[in-house]
C-alpha cells in the first residue's frame, strides 16, 4: 500500500482511494517534484524500479535511481539524462515519450519501458509535479528480438554451403540477445558427435566450456544434449537449474566445482531435426545475466532447431552427391588398377611361352603346360575381380544381386578364404574351427566367400600387431554362423553401427576406397541370403564379426531377386 502521505490519506479518504486506483493500474507511475524527489509511486512502478513496496521509493531522487540503473535507448546506446521524458516535461515539452531500455548496473537482464511524462502545473515552480508513467514492454521487445533473431538466423542458414560454419554463425548471433551461452552439437554418422560451436560474449568462457567438454566428456550413447534429444524428440527446458541438479551431473568434486563456477541458471535444449531424424542439438544457457528462459524462448529455439536441421539436411545431401561422384571415380580408378595386374600376368605368361617356342628347337612341353595353366589361373583371378566388381556396383546402387544357391558347407568356404589370406601376413595365425557334425545349407558360395574375405581382410588389417584370427563355424537349430575374431584394435561403441554405413570411411581412409564390397555391401549380400551380420568389440582387445545364415532356404524368393 502506497501513500503520498499517510496522515493526509487518513484525513482525506478520497486520496486513499486514488492511491488504491493507482496501485491497480498496469503501468508503473511515479510522481516527482522539481527537485527531482519522488513524492509518489504505485506498486507497479516500485516493482519496475526493483523495489518490493512503493514507500521504499519515496524521498529518493532521480540521481540516486540513475546510480542503480543503466539507462539506454532502444538501440542499446546510453540515454543522456536530458532525453528522459521526466526532464523534458520539466523543461516544458508537452507529454514527451521515449522507449527506454534499462538494466541494473552490472547485470545483462535488460528490460524495456515505454515512458511518458506530464507536468502538473502547481502554480509556482516549487509546487510543480511531474507524473511519469512506465509501460513495461519487455516481453513485447523480447518477442520482437526473437523474431529478428529467427529472421537473421534463417538468412544465414539459407546460405548453407558449409553447414558447420553456418551453425557457428547462428550460435554467435544467438548470444547475447537470446542466451548467455549457445552450444551446437551435431551428430555425424561418420565421427560421432561434433561440437560445432560454442558461443559466449566472453572468449575466456568459451575456452572454459571446451575444457569442461574435454576433461569430463559425456558418453554420447547414454547422456549429453544430443542423446537427450534423440530420446525426447522435443525441447527440454530446465528452469531453474538447482545445485542438486549440478551435483547429479558432476562426475567428481572438481567437475562439480567447475559446473558451479559457470553460474548456470536456466538451460534450454532443442533438437536439430530434419525428415524426422535428430541431427544434433542446440543448447542455450542463461547464466550471469540472471535471465531465465520462458515459453517464448522455447518456441523460438524449437523453430530455430527445425530451420537449422533443414539446412544441415540440404548441405548433407549436396555433400553426399559430391561424395558419391568422387567415390565412383575412385572406384573406376581402383578397378582398372586391380584388373591390370592379372592382365599383366596373362600377357607375361603368354609371352614367356611364345619366346620359349621361338627360341628352343625342342620346346619343353611341361614348362609350356605350366605357363598355360598359370594363364588359366590368372584368367580366373580376373573373372573373380570382374564379378566382385559387378556385385559391389549392384550393391552400391541398391539393386538386386542374382544369387546362385547351392548346397554349401561353411567350413569349406571359410577354409578357402583363409588359404587365400595366409600368404599375405606372417604375423597372424589364421585358425579355422568347425564342429564335426556341421550341417550344410543352401547359400551362394561365392558371395559367402566374398563376405568372409572382406571380414577376414579387416581382421588382419585392424590387428597390426598380429595375433590370432579365429574363424569359428557353428549352428543353433535354424541358423548357421561363422564368427571371425581378431585380437586387434577394436571398434568404439559409437562406431559399431556406422561401419556398416556405405559412406563410412575408417581411420585408414586410403585403403577404404576400393572395388571391394565393404561392410555395407557384405551386410547387404548376407541379408539377401536371409541372414545378418553382427559385431561385438572391445577397444584394445579385438572384434568379433558374426555372419548368421538361415539353414532352411526360407529366404529364396526374396533372395533370388526379380
Amino acid at each position: 500500500m502506497t501513500t503520498l502521505d499517510d496522515a493526509a490519506v487518513a484525513a482525506d479518504p478520497l486520496r486513499g482511494r486514488l492511491t488504491a486506483i493507482f496501485d491497480s493500474v498496469a503501468d508503473g507511475v511515479t510522481v516527482m517534484d522539481r527537485a527531482g524527489r519522488i513524492v509518489f509511486a504505485n506498486d507497479t512502478g516500485a516493482r519496475l524500479l526493483g523495489r518490493e513496496r512503493a514507500d521504499e521509493l519515496i524521498g529518493m531522487t532521480g540521481a540516486q535511481l540513475l546510480g542503480e540503473w543503466e539507462i539506454l535507448d532502444d538501440a542499446g546506446e546510453p540515454l543522456p539524462a536530458d532525453r528522459m521524458p521526466t526532464r523534458r516535461a520539466l523543461a516544458g515539452e508537452t507529454e514527451p515519450e521515449e522507449t527506454v531500455r534499462f538494466r541494473r548496473r552490472g547485470s545483462a537482464d535488460d528490460r524495456w519501458s515505454l515512458v511518458r511524462a506530464r507536468l502538473l502545473n502547481g502554480g509556482s515552480p516549487e509546487d510543480d509535479l511531474v507524473v511519469t508513467a512506465f509501460q513495461d514492454i519487455t516481453s513485447l521487445k523480447r518477442s520482437e528480438s526473437r523474431l529478428q533473431f529467427l529472421s537473421e538466423a534463417s538468412a544465414i542458414l539459407g546460405e548453407a554451403v558449409d553447414y558447420q560454419q553456418t551453425l557457428r554463425r547462428v550460435a554467435e548471433i544467438a548470444v547475447p540477445d537470446l542466451a548467455d551461452w549457445c552450444v551446437v552439437d551435431v551428430l555425424e554418422w561418420t565421427r560421432g558427435i561434433t561440437r560445432v560451436a560454442v558461443a559466449h560474449a566472453d572468449q575466456a568462457k568459451v575456452a572454459a566450456t571446451q575444457e569442461l567438454w574435454q576433461r569430463w566428456p559425456s558418453d554420447p550413447a547414454r547422456s549429453g544434449a544430443v542423446y537427450e534429444m534423440t530420446q525426447r524428440r522435443g525441447p527440454l527446458l530446465v528452469d531453474p537449474v538447482t545445485p542438486e541438479m549440478l551435483r547429479a551431473q558432476a562426475q567428481d568434486a572438481e567437475h562439480l566445482a567447475f559446473l558451479e563456477s559457470l553460474d548456470i541458471r536456466s538451460v534450454l535444449v532443442v533438437p536439430l531435426e530434419a525428415r524426422g531424424e535428430v541431427l544434433g542439438a542446440f543448447t542455450l544457457v542463461q547464466s550471469e545475466s540472471g535471465r531465465r528462459f520462458g515459453r517464448g524462448d522455447v518456441e523460438v529455439a524449437a523453430e530455430l532447431g527445425r530451420r537449422a536441421g533443414a539446412a544441415i539436411d540440404v548441405a548433407r545431401l549436396v555433400w553426399e552427391t559430391h561424395e558419391n561422384a568422387r567415390l565412383r571415380d575412385e572406384f573406376i580408378a581402383v578397378a582398372s588398377h586391380d584388373m591390370r595386374t592379372p592382365l599383366a600376368a596373362i600377357r607375361g605368361y603368354a609371352q614367356l611361352a611364345g619366346r620359349h617356342v621361338e627360341r628352343s628347337e625342342t620346346p619343353d612341353r611341361e614348362q609350356l603346360q605350366r605357363w598355360l595353366s598359370d594363364v588359366d589361373a590368372s584368367v580366373d583371378r580376373l573373372a573373380h575381380l570382374v564379378s566382385e566388381l559387378l556385385d559391389a556396383t549392384l550393391v552400391r546402387a541398391d539393386q538386386s544381386v542374382p544369387l546362385h544357391l547351392e548346397e554349401v558347407k561353411l567350413s569349406a568356404v571359410a577354409g578357402e578364404v583363409l588359404e587365400r589370406h595366409r600368404p599375405l601376413s606372417d604375423r597372424h595365425s589364421l585358425v579355422l574351427l568347425a564342429p564335426k557334425d556341421e550341417p550344410t545349407g543352401h547359400w551362394d558360395a561365392s558371395r559367402v566367400a566374398r563376405v568372409l574375405d572382406n571380414i577376414v581382410g579387416n581382421a588382419v588389417k585392424f590387428s597390426p600387431d598380429g595375433g590370432e584370427v579365429v574363424v569359428r563355424v557353428g549352428y543353433d537349430g535354424a541358423r548357421a554362423s561363422v564368427e571371425v575374431s581378431d585380437q586387434g584394435i577394436g571398434i568404439a561403441a559409437s562406431e559399431r553401427e556406422k561401419i556398416f554405413n556405405p559412406m563410412y570411411r575408417g581411420g585408414n581412409a586410403e585403403h577404404v576406397a576400393g572395388t571391394g564390397l565393404g561392410l555395407a555391401g557384405s551386410r547387404r549380400l548376407v541379408e539377401l541370403m536371409g541372414g545378418t551380420i553382427q559385431v561385438e568389440s572391445r577397444i584394445g582387445h579385438g572384434s568379433t564379426f558374426t555372419v548368421w545364415l538361415p539353414l532352411a532356404p526360407a529366404g529364396d524368393e526374396e533372395a533370388a531377386g526379380p
Binding site: 580408378a333 582398372s336 588398377h337 586391380d338 591390370r340 595386374t341 592379372p342 592382365l343 599383366a344 600376368a345 596373362i346 600377357r347 607375361g348 605368361y349 609371352q351 614367356l352 619366346r355 598359370d374 589361373a377 590368372s378 600368404p423 599375405l424
Partner: protein
Amino acid sequence: MQAAQSAEQTEHAGDCPRILVVDDDDALREIYVDALSGGGYDVRAASDGVAALSLMDAGWTPCVVFLDLRMPGMDGWELARRIRSDDRWRRTRIVVVAAHFQVDREAREIGASAWLQKPFDLSRLEHHARNLCHG
C-alpha cells in the same frame, strides 16, 4: 652421368649386373625373373619394400630396381624415398612398374628413370634393364 655409369660397371666387374624386382604379386615376380634371367643378369625378387631394403642393406646393390607402387607393408613410394636418400644407392636406378592410371607422373615424382604400365610387353623390361645396367 657417363662417369658414374662406368664406375658402376667397374664395381660390378666380374659379376653379372644385378636386378631387383619388387612386386607383391607372386605371378608377376615369377614372370619378371624368368624374362630377365636369360639376359645374363643376377635377378632377385622381393614381395615388399621391407624385404627389398633388407637385401640391399646387406650389401646387394642392384643397378636397377623394377618397382611396383601399391604393396602392403612398405610400399613402392616409401622404398623409392629410402633408396633416393641413401648415398650407398646413388647409382641404383628405379623403373616404376605399376598399374596406376598416372604412372608417368608418379614415376617423375619419385625420381625414377623410367616407367612401365601393366600390362606391358616383356621386351620393354629387357630394354630398360639393358639401357640402365649397360648404358
